[in-house]
């Protein structure tokens, strides 16, 4: 085993208070990391100002400091504790920014603290738009036309060269705060102004719009031997223009051929190598022109990201835990796969189900706020659901939101056609229900696609759900046949929705429908035995066995 012995004490920085763009996911990754490092015998020093975190529980780190997250305070802690290393990649953007600050002020050098996981140069290369662009050019990857400006005068100068619509992204902000889209010169002036104000270094990126393009994410990991693996691919239901944190996202990617998927895999590995993240996980975002298949790199997070939490739970591969172990010198082939035990972590998870993530918003508390979804993140949380079919996964996610909706029905019968169209064109948290209502009213997939730019594969899935809804509504509990009811359950219809459609009670539906099966998330599509009971519910078709005595056993396979 190649664990580093030149370091003993490791400093971890948490992500501070919960804000939009940086919530519980970094408590999850930090806690996993701290536990993994302690397991290896390292002394873990943790700093975080947020008491409502698991990581600040006394038994997680060896020493925990509840202090403001500033370089000044961190210097004092470093001075006192004298850690050998700082692992900055598990605490979100806050931790990364503080690590940059500590390095630039010479504090890490002064106290001889090594940065592990990602070093200063790698973080800078990924975070600084200009350096990132140069790095991508070097490895032959395309990015949207863009320029960084520090003043309004500079911005106005290049306005025509980029053209409209243009995306405005302030540098070094969390969850894209201050980001916006300008469609004309007037909007451009006001939005660049607020972007410059939002950026701590008064800098914004102006970028060619790829609004309406398809969007994908890849979770990639690398070890010190330069072994690279992809943990998960994610496809955004909402096309480019909506912040990934506000988008409905699906794992694995649904509409990529192998040629395209392998291009993204090759690109992601090239990106993590060129940026120089020596060990750990990164998240690379791409957009794709739906007409030509051309890919652009959008950005790269040289750290465990919001999507890493989703990817970990979507695949059963604990990204933050493995990232921590890679940071102290292990290689992927030296670490076991947590779930299968007997196979190594140097593999790529394969999944035999569909994962849907839907963001949760809280606009009810802020009725004046603009609910339009843009490149600035507005959601306050998210839910994830797993199903054997896309339809099941999606409908489960909708009801997990706890918005009083139990599927695609949202009482929109009285909405005008204008309202329907408007709500499909302009993305808001309610868009999917308006899409469903449009299909109820006979809109075609092409029409909804033209308004939303959402891939036709996703739209067809929703349309099929609505078509089945209509078919079910034409029946009663007495006339619906077992095959149709089984199909409805496999497509994720809740008992409550079925009761509404069949004008009966949930209890009556439950008496008549098939039983639930529990399936396992195991990283390997059942190729190997799983030792971790991590389940999701599903409704499965019938399996049987002709026994040796000629009798027949019929069952629905459940693993719990």
């Amino acid at each position: 085993m190649a664990k580093r012995t030149d370091i003993n004490k490791i400093l971890l920085i948490g992500s501070g208070p919960i804000i939009i763009g940086q919530a519980a996911e970094f408590d999850y990754s930090g806690t996993q990391g701290a536990k993994a490092l302690k397991e290896e015998g390292y002394e873990v020093i943790l700093v975080n100002s947020n008491p409502a975190t698991i990581m600040t529980d006394p038994e997680i780190a060896d020493k925990t400091y509840i202090e403001p997250l500033t370089t000044k305070i961190l210097e004092k802690i470093i001075q006192k504790e004298r850690p050998d290393a700082l692992l900055p990649t598990l605490g979100g953007q806050t931790s990364l920014n503080l690590a940059i600050g500590l390095y630039e002020k010479g504090i890490l050098d002064k106290y001889n603290v090594k940065m592990i996981g990602a070093n200063y140069e790698a973080i800078k290369k990924a975070e600084d738009r200009e350096l990132f662009k140069q790095a991508m050019e070097k490895i032959g990857l395309k990015m949207p036309k863009s320029a960084v400006v520090k003043t309004m005068a500079e911005a106005v100068e290049i306005m025509d060269w980029i053209g409209f619509p243009v995306i405005i992204r302030p540098s070094f902000t969390l969850g894209g705060t201050g980001g916006s889209i300008a469609y004309n010169a007037d909007e451009f002036i006001s939005k660049v102004k607020s972007g410059l104000e939002a950026s701590p270094i008064s800098e914004v990126l102006l970028e060619e719009s790829v609004i309406g393009w398809k969007e994908f994410e890849m979770e990639v990991m690398r070890d010190k031997n330069d072994n690279c693996v992809i943990i998960c691919s994610i496809e955004n239901f909402d096309p480019m223009g909506v912040h990934t944190g506000d988008s409905i996202t699906i794992a694995p990617a649904m509409t990529l051929t192998d040629k395209e998927y392998q291009m993204l895999r090759d690109y992601s590995i090239a990106v993590i190598r060129e940026i120089g993240v020596e060990t750990g996980g990164s998240n690379v975002q791409f957009s794709q022109n739906p007409e030509t298949g051309e890919f652009y790199v959008i950005e790269m997070n040289p750290r465990v990201s919001r999507s890493s939490a989703l990817a970990s739970k979507a695949t059963g591969f604990p990204i933050a835990k493995i990232a921590a172990k890679l940071a102290v010198g292990y290689t992927l082939d030296e670490l076991p796969n947590d779930i299968t035990k007997e196979t190594p972590a140097s593999f790529e998870p394969t999944i035999d189900y569909i994962v849907t993530k839907i963001p949760r918003f809280d606009f009810a508390k802020f009725p004046e706020a603009d609910q339009t979804l843009t490149t600035m993140m507005k959601s306050v949380g998210e839910v994830m659901a797993i199903g054997r079919t896309f339809k099941e996964s999606f409908q489960k996610a909708l009801r997990s939101l706890e918005l009083g909706k139990y599927g695609f029905y949202a009482k929109l019968e009285n909405a005008s056609d204008e309202e329907i169209k408007e709500k499909i064109i302009r993305p808001t948290p309610e868009r999917v229900w308006y899409i469903a209502e449009a299909f109820r009213r006979g809109y075609t997939i092409d029409e909804v696609h033209q308004m939303s730019h959402i891939d036709k594969w996703f739209l067809n899935q929703i349309k099929e759900i609505i078509d089945l809804e209509k078919e079910i509504a034409s029946k009663t509990l007495g006339t619906i046949d077992a095959d149709l009811l089984e199909k409805a359950k496999q497509w994720g219809f809740s008992d409550r929705e079925l009761a509404r459609l069949l004008k009966t009670s949930e209890e009556k539906i439950r008496e008549k429908r098939i039983d639930v099966s529990y399936k396992v998330v195991d990283t390997c599509a059942a190729e190997f035995k799983a030792f971790t009971p991590y389940y999701y519910s599903s409704y499965e078709s019938l399996v049987g066995k002709v026994e040796e005595d000629g009798s027949i056993k019929l069952y629905r396979d459940s693993e719990n």
Binding site: D258, M263, D266, P344, S346, D352, F528, V543, E548
Partner: protein, 377 residues
């Protein structure tokens, strides 16, 4: 959409529905599962799947349709195709038709709605089995009986069915986005390919490396190959049990006694294993997927590989002059060997991927370098 039943020889059966419309309403074959999350069209057209019913573990299949580029041979090769869910539309910028039409045109049975995970768990626990798919009203008893009547794959000469009967040239290189398949001009090396059911992407990757490829049928003699005076010899992938291919093993024995560089992939690797005095054995449920970790023992690096094989070389049977170059980290089986005193090596997995990761493309460079260093000797 008719009802369908899939039965295994051990008595298990699964219900689903057909999604292709075929002349024959039943088919038998060896049932295996594949865990690749992309690339169903490449899998369907891979000649190595001849004789097999392929179960896909990813649950949504058909999403991006099919096109005329993502093919590994000129037709669908699998005996039958089993999925959890099939998309009713094809959505991709290159899609030309839906999977439903594609299988129908190729007259291959596809079924969906099957609890594929339950099926995979049975194959994992009890090993690969013979199976039968019946469309329409087929009773479980009849389906299981027919599954038991399916001939064992080791009794079939499948290579004969998928190898092209004539000698042919190959000049097409790999696919590049925005360009399509590259045209290879002025190749430098003359390479003879023994076509046991070769995948097109193997030929493309060899062609990329300046090789002028001439493909010979599976029953070509060693003398014919030697008379052709090649700079290198390639032994291709292909279907079925290597142990029954006595003629081919005998020819390869003669070929490795020349000083012409020889490179084999998958079945080619297994035939080479027999030719050097080793033996192969059947794996419990095979390796079929795009996520297997393989360690290169010379560099210590791990490659994520595409795999499709039911047989493996037994390390205990290999003579002393053989070096094991690659192993599978999941089960430590052999993934690559080379002869210590001859320019001969082979790989068990699929460095060409298609579908799968590109980590092992360097192996084709090694073949070119070997040819280069022996050319003119």
């Amino acid at each position: 959409m008719e009802k369908a039943i899939l039965a295994l020889e051990d008595g298990h059966f699964f219900y689903g529905y057909s999604f292709s419309s075929t002349r024959s309403k039943e088919v038998g074959g060896e049932v295996i599962f594949n865990t690749s999350m992309t690339g169903y069209q490449e899998i369907l057209t891979d000649p190595s799947y001849k004789g097999q019913i392929v179960v896909m573990t990813p649950s949504e299949i058909g999403n991006y349709g099919v096109n005329s580029e993502d093919v590994e041979s000129d037709r669908v090769q699998v005996n039958g195709f089993v999925v959890k869910d099939i998309s009713s539309i094809a959505s991709n910028w290159r899609a030309e038709k839906r999977l439903q039409e594609y299988l129908t045109e190729n007259d291959v049975i596809g079924i969906f709605g099957v609890d594929t995970r339950a099926l995979v768990r049975i194959l994992r626990d009890y090993g690969v089995m013979k199976g039968y798919i019946g469309i329409g009203d087929v009773s479980p008893e009849e389906a299981v009986r027919k599954a038991r009547d399916v001939p064992d794959i080791s009794e079939l000469n499948l290579v004969k069915e998928v190898s092209k009967p004539e000698v042919y040239k190959w000049t097409e290189g790999s696919w590049v986005h925005g360009i399509g398949f590259r045209k290879i001009e002025n190749p430098k090396y003359r390479v003879a390919v023994l076509d046991y059911g070769v995948k097109k992407d193997i030929l493309r990757l060899l062609a990329d490396r300046e090789m002028e490829l001439t493909c010979f049928p599976y029953n070509t003699t060693a003398e014919e190959i030697i008379d052709f005076n090649p700079d290198g010899i390639f032994l291709s992938n292909g279907p079925g049990d290597p142990e029954i291919l006595h003629f081919q093993i005998e020819q390869v024995k003669k070929l490795i006694h020349t000083d012409i560089p020889v490179f084999g992939i998958c079945l080619g690797h297994q035939i080479l294993s027999w030719a050097i005095g080793g033996r192969t054995y059947k794996l419990e449920f095979g390796h079929h997927g795009g996520n297997h970790p393989v360690k290169n023992l010379r560099t210590g690096k791990v490659e994520i590989t595409a795999q499709n094989h039911n047989y493996a070389t037994d390390p205990k049977t290999l003579p002393e002059d053989v070096e094991i170059t690659h192993i599978n980290l999941n089960d430590n089986t052999i993934e690559g060997i080379k002869l210590k005193n001859k320019p001969v090596f082979s790989i068990q997995h699929h460095p060409e991927a298609a579908p799968g990761p590109h980590d092992s493309h360097y192996i084709f460079d090694e073949f070119r370098d070997l040819i280069q260093s022996f050319k003119g000797k």
